[in-house]
């Protein structure tokens, strides 16, 4: 036998459920601009009908519906698109960071321009030519010395700027490691909270959102692989469970598990000299603690790193010690090239200069000098001989074998030729063409990085749009829902009025015969 007030109860459930749906709509609208927010949907389901199933169930000719209830409130999300998004984001992370590193190097070198190394070398050559035709002219001599100083200064300046940027990149690696650690800790913390809530049958949607946001961030640093583990208890079928994060490596079959439930590993940067503070010559990374039982499992050498993600890109730019003990990377290699160029140029120039004789008929001193203790010239130490700076008459412009020939500029001419002489130390290139090649190569790498950034950016945008298409809030849709739920709410309320009128009939209108 159904209860008298069953209709009221049914309509009340309708009110509550439509109200929940309206609240969720409000939540969606409120979060329309929240980054990382996933729209939520109330899964409504009909409540079990009357009579219920069982031995004591009454018999009646029909099966009466009892209304609606909120089954669950679910995030609308596609984990496959998430996976795609993260893998594209890792690629973009690599190329964006590389583009940035190359752009900074281009800025430091400053070619093409009116004040770069190329221009100062060109000016130096011109001054030597002028000296060759007017070797007796004190002005021409002074200009040569100053232009020589300008060349040395350009080398020093470029080297210093590049080292500074390199230092910044080192700091950035350090900062990234800290950021990665913080992300891992936060994900572990969320895993813990989620594992506490889910067994009670709840769906902590906003915790999922927060965790997905953190995973997105982590994926721009490192190539990750995620899997999920169900929570026990009365966990809902659509509960996501805790996430397990593994870092992909180049070694087949090897991954590094960095997060498992609330267990979190910590990342540290490895240098080849433990006594030196980072940033210094780096060799790789180590993950310790958390899910990593065996310390050897947490080792990630640079060679094992997948060429993806911002961290690897920073390492590639900053430089690292390869397994063969050599320092590699964009910045160290450029510095090596500049050093080589400065060394070969200074040596060749000095050799010619020492062949000549100065204004007093004395054999030339070295034009470029090394600081005490150094054996090789480098871009950072190349400098013009102080004796010559103080007395430009010491410039060996003449090629006279004996005595002083003031009007002899033959050696100055030969000094000018050094710029275009093929030097064995520069693989048979001249200083001029070696530098142009170096700049050209940097340009090619920069262009490649730009193109890759562009294309991975486009891909990421496409994936991101697809994700938004699934998960982001549409105001029009929410407004429609709002009307829908409001109408349903109103109709349920009207049902209660109808019930009220029916009951009024029973209670106040019946049994009054004859009155």
């Amino acid at each position: 036998m159904r209860s008298t007030f069953m209709g009221l109860e049914t309509s009340k459930r309708g009110l509550y459920t439509q109200q929940s749906a309206l609240y969720t709509t409000g939540h969606n609208i409120g979060n329309v601009n929240t980054p990382g927010y996933t729209r939520q949907r109330v899964n409504m389901q009909a409540t079990s009908g009357f009579p219920g199933i069982g031995i004591n169930a009454g018999t009646m000719p029909g099966f009466l519906g009892t209304g609606v209830e909120t089954g669950s409130i679910q995030r609308i999300r596609d984990s496959f698109v998430d996976h795609q998004f993260r893998s594209e984001s890792t690629k973009l992370g690599y190329w964006e960071s590389r583009t940035n590193a190359i752009a900074q190097m281009e800025d430091a070198i400053g070619e093409p321009s009116e004040y770069g190394l190329q221009q100062s070398m060109s000016d130096f050559w011109q001054s030597l030519q002028t000296l060759a035709s007017s070797p007796e002219n004190g002005g021409a001599r002074a200009v040569v010395v100053e232009r020589g100083v300008a060349v040395a200064d350009s080398f020093n300046y470029i080297y210093k700027s590049i080292s500074e940027v390199k230092g910044n990149l080192g700091d950035e690696i350090d900062f990234s490691a800290k950021d990665i650690n913080s992300l891992l800790t936060q994900i572990g913390e969320l895993n813990k909270q989620i594992a506490n809530v889910e067994p009670n049958g709840y769906l902590p949607n906003d915790l999922y959102d927060a965790r997905d946001g953190l995973l997105d961030q982590l994926s721009s640093y490192l190539p990750i692989e995620t899997s999920y583990e169900k929570s026990g208890g009365r966990a809902s079928a659509i509960a996501e469970g805790t996430v397990t994060i593994k870092i992909k490596t180049n070694v087949p079959g090897k991954t590094i598990t960095v997060v498992e439930k609330d267990q979190v590993a910590e990342l540290t940067v490895d240098g080849n000299d433990p006594n030196q503070p980072f940033p210094n010559l780096m060799t790789g990374f180590t993950f310790t603690g958390g899910p990593i039982q065996n310390p050897a499992d947490g080792k990630l050498s640079v060679n094992e790193m997948v060429k993806s993600g911002e961290l690897k890109s920073l390492v590639d730019s900053y430089g690292y010690i390869d397994s063969d003990g050599k320092e590699k990377g964009l910045y160290p290699e450029m510095m090596t090239k500049l050093d080589k160029m400065a060394n070969e140029f200074a040596k060749a120039f000095n050799a010619v200069h020492e062949e000549g004789t100065d204004l007093a008929g004395v054999k030339g001193e070295p034009f470029f000098v090394l600081p005490a203790g150094a054996t090789e010239f480098s871009a950072s130490n190349i400098a013009v001989n102080d004796a010559i700076r103080k007395d430009p008459n010491k410039l060996a412009a003449s090629d006279a074998k004996t005595g002083a020939e003031v009007g002899n500029g033959q050696n100055a001419k030969k000094l000018g030729d050094v710029f275009f002489a093929k030097l064995p130390g520069l693989d048979g290139s001249s200083v001029q063409s070696y530098y142009a090649q170096t700049i050209g190569q940097l340009g090619v790498e920069g262009q490649q990085a730009l193109n890759m950034t562009e294309s991975s950016g486009v891909l990421l945008l496409a994936v991101s749009n697809r994700r938004a298409s699934i998960s982001s809030v549409s105001l029009d849709e929410e407004m429609t829902d709002m009307i829908r739920f409001q109408q349903a709410y109103n109709a349920s309320a009207r049902m209660i009025t109808v019930m009220d009128e029916t009951l009024d009939k029973i209670i106040n209108g019946m049994g009054t015969v004859g009155r």
Partner: protein
């Protein structure tokens, strides 16, 4: 596909920033007049540009050197012209003296005075200076060819060394003229004249000697003339080279203004369209139509 406001606004922002980016690049190109401003803009252009730039600088420097060459050759020619004039005057004097037969004391004195002046002038011409350089002193440009202290012409090896100036890659022009011997012989001739005047000897023998010296001067001037011609040719060639190098550099890296401005206008209209389309799409929502 389901499309939401956030997607629209994100796409719109992205489109706007990319069209700003585009316009920024074009603006930079128009401001600098260069197609490329960093190696990654176009590595090939930058690499070639460095070569062309050096080429242009080289040609400019060689043109400066060429100025020095002309300076040197013109001054040498002027000086030798002076020597020729001296010899002509000497010949006049000798001819006059030879025609009048015996000379009186006064006439001889007058000739002697003039001859002495001419000799001084020749010595001065031998020490011709251009700027700081004695142009007839070979590599010893700081020292005069005629040493007033010793009263002799310098004849060291360095004094007769060739001076060359580079006017193109590996091409050197000799700018010095080997005149030590000539000046010494002319000076010696003046010495002989002094003796002749003292002894009253006739001048008829002197005329042939002067003629042979004039020949020498002429042949030296012819040599200078020939080198000036070569310098002239070289100058033309350098001008051509300058034009070619600058043209190559310009074609390589300079902005084509018509094209770039057209591109800018196109980019600007795309940007305007993006803005107005964005404004139209972002505005309406169901909200506007609900009570």
């Amino acid at each position: 596909m389901r499309v939401t406001q956030s997607m629209l606004s994100q796409n719109m922002l992205r489109n706007l920033s990319s069209s700003y980016n585009n316009m920024g690049k074009l603006q930079e190109q128009l401001n600098t007049g260069k197609k490329v401003n960093r190696p990654s803009d176009d590595p090939v252009v930058v690499m070639k540009g460095m070569g062309y730039g050096m080429q242009v600088n080289k040609v400019e420097q060689y043109q400066k050197n060429m100025g020095e060459v002309n300076n040197w050759l013109d001054s040498s020619d002027d000086a030798l012209d002076g020597v020729g004039q001296v010899l002509h005057r000497m010949k006049e004097l000798a001819t006059n003296a030879a025609n009048t037969g015996t000379m009186g004391e006064n006439e001889r004195k007058a000739i002697e005075t003039e001859m002495n002046q001419l000799r001084e002038h020749v010595r001065d011409l031998a020490n011709t200076k251009v700027g700081d350089k004695h142009i007839f002193s070979g590599n010893m440009t700081d020292q005069p060819l005629f040493n007033k202290d010793t009263g002799k012409f310098e004849d060291g090896k360095s004094f007769s060394a060739n001076v060359e100036i580079e006017v193109f890659d590996g091409i050197n022009l000799r700018v010095s003229t080997d005149v030590n011997k000539m000046f010494k012989e002319i000076d010696d001739m003046f010495g002989e004249v002094e003796g002749m005047i003292a002894t009253g000897e006739g001048f008829s023998g002197l005329i042939t000697s002067i003629d042979s010296k004039l020949d020498t001067v002429l042949s030296k001037r012819a040599d200078i003339g020939a080198r000036s011609n070569r310098a002239e040719l070289m100058k033309n060639r350098l001008e051509m080279q300058e034009g070619a190098a600058k043209k190559q550099r310009s074609q390589n890296e300079d902005v084509n203004f018509e094209k770039t401005i057209t591109d800018l206008i196109t980019a600007e209209s795309i940007h305007r369209a993006t803005l107005s389309v964005g404004a139209r799409i972002m505005q309406p929502s169901l909200m506007d139509f609900l009570r």
